[in-house]
C-alpha cells in the first residue's frame, strides 16, 4: 500500500535533514510542510528531494498537517502517517503504526508513549503525573475518548479515514480534535507503542488550557 509521511516543520533546520533521511527509506513518499520557517528548514528539506509544500504565513501544526493530508489524498496515498520534525519520534516506529492499517485491523492508529514500558522513565514527572492524567480525564469525561496517550501527534490513517476526518484546529488542539473525529466516525482504532525522545518539556499546563479554550471556541463557531 502506498504510504505517505507528512512532516510539518517550523524552524527545524537542526533536525530536518536527519529526520527526513531516516523516514524516507521507510515510506513511498515524504511530504514536508514548511510552516513559514524563518530559518533554512525549507531549503534543506528541498535538497533532500522530498515533496516540499510551503505556507507563506505561519498557520500552526494542525494547518500544516491538513495541507499535507490534502496533498497526499490528491496524489494517491493509501496510508497517511503524521510525524514530527523535531526528532522526538523514532522513524522505525512508522512501521508499527502503519502495519495494523495494512493488515486491515484498523483504519486509524495512534502512537502511544504509554504502551512503551521503558518510556515512563524518560517523561518529566510533572507531565507524567499531572498533565497527562488530567488530559486523559478531560478526553474521557467530555469527549468519551479512551486512549492511553491523550496528545499523540504520531498517527497513521487509511485514505478513507483521512478523507472523512476533517479537523479545523490550526494549532495544537488538532490532536484532540482528530481523536474526537475518529470516535465520531466510528473508525476501527488501534494504539501502537512508540518511543518519544524528550528534547524539551513539550506541551505544558498552560498549553493544555489553550487547547481547551480553542476547542471551546470552535464549538461555538461551528454551531
Amino acid at each position: 500500500m502506498k504510504t505517505f509521511c507528512i512532516i510539518p516543520a517550523f524552524n527545524e533546520e537542526k533536525n530536518i535533514i536527519t529526520v527526513v533521511s531516516q523516514v524516507k527509506p521507510l515510506v513511498d513518499e515524504v511530504v514536508v510542510v514548511d510552516d513559514c520557517s524563518s530559518d533554512r528548514t525549507a531549503d534543506l528539506a528541498e535538497r533532500t528531494g522530498v515533496v516540499l509544500l510551503r505556507h507563506i504565513i505561519n498557520r500552526g501544526q494542525g494547518a500544516a498537517l491538513r495541507t499535507g493530508t490534502e496533498y497526499c489524498l490528491k496524489n494517491g496515498a493509501e496510508i497517511i502517517v503524521h510525524f514530527d520534525a523535531d526528532g522526538q519520534f523514532l522513524s522505525q516506529d512508522i512501521k508499527k503504526v502503519a502495519e495494523p492499517i495494512k493488515a486491515g485491523a484498523a483504519e486509524v492508529v495512534f502512537g502511544s508513549r504509554f504502551l512503551n514500558s521503558g518510556h515512563s522513565l524518560a517523561m518529566p514527572p510533572f507531565k507524567k503525573y499531572f498533565i497527562m492524567p488530567l488530559a486523559r480525564a478531560v478526553n474521557k469525561i467530555f469527549f468519551n475518548v479512551n486512549l492511553t496517550d491523550p496528545q499523540s501527534g504520531f498517527r497513521a490513517m487509511s485514505r478513507e479515514a483521512a478523507r472523512k476526518i476533517s479537523w479545523q484546529q490550526d494549532r495544537m488542539a488538532h490532536c484532540s480534535e482528530i481523536m474526537f473525529a475518529v470516535k465520531k466516525n466510528n473508525f476501527k482504532v488501534k494504539e501502537a507503542p512508540i518511543t518519544v525522545v524528550y528534547h524539551n518539556f513539550g506541551q505544558n499546563f498552560f498549553g493544555g488550557l489553550k487547547i481547551l479554550k480553542d476547542l471551546f471556541i470552535a464549538t461555538l463557531i461551528n454551531r
Binding site: H55, I56, R59, A63, Y71, K74, D170
Partner: protein, 107 residues
C-alpha cells in the same frame, strides 16, 4: 446638572463627527444608524437620569441609575469582545484556507 450638560456636549460632538464620517463615506449606512441610535439613546438616558433612578429603585437595584447603566455597559462590552473574538477566529480560518490553497497550487 453640570455633569449632564458636559455629557450632552460630548455626545453632540460625537454625533457631529459621526455625521461628518457618513458624509465622507468613511462608514456605511448600517454602522451610521447603529451609532446614531446608540448615542441618541445615551443622550435620552442622561436627560432622564432622575426617572432612571426611580426605575432602577423600583426594580430592586441598590445603586443609582447611572451605576446600573455602567454595569449594563460593562456586560455589553464583554459581549462585544466575545463576538469580536469569534469573528477573529473565523478570519483566522479563512487565512489558513488561502495559505493552504496557495501552498497546494504552487506544487
Amino acid at each position: 446638572m453640570i455633569q449632564q450638560i458636559i455629557a450632552l456636549i460630548i455626545i453632540a460632538s460625537i454625533l457631529a463627527r459621526l455625521y461628518w464620517q457618513k458624509q465622507k463615506n468613511y462608514i456605511g449606512m448600517n454602522e451610521f444608524l447603529f451609532w446614531l441610535i446608540f448615542w441618541i439613546l445615551a443622550a435620552v438616558l442622561i436627560v432622564s437620569l432622575k426617572f432612571l433612578d426611580k426605575l432602577v429603585a423600583e426594580l430592586g437595584f441598590s445603586g443609582s441609575g447611572i451605576e446600573v447603566l455602567l454595569y449594563l455597559s460593562v456586560a455589553a462590552l464583554f459581549y462585544f469582545v466575545f463576538r469580536l473574538r469569534l469573528k477573529m477566529e473565523k478570519i483566522e480560518k479563512d487565512i489558513t484556507k488561502i495559505v493552504q490553497n496557495i501552498s497546494l497550487k504552487n506544487k
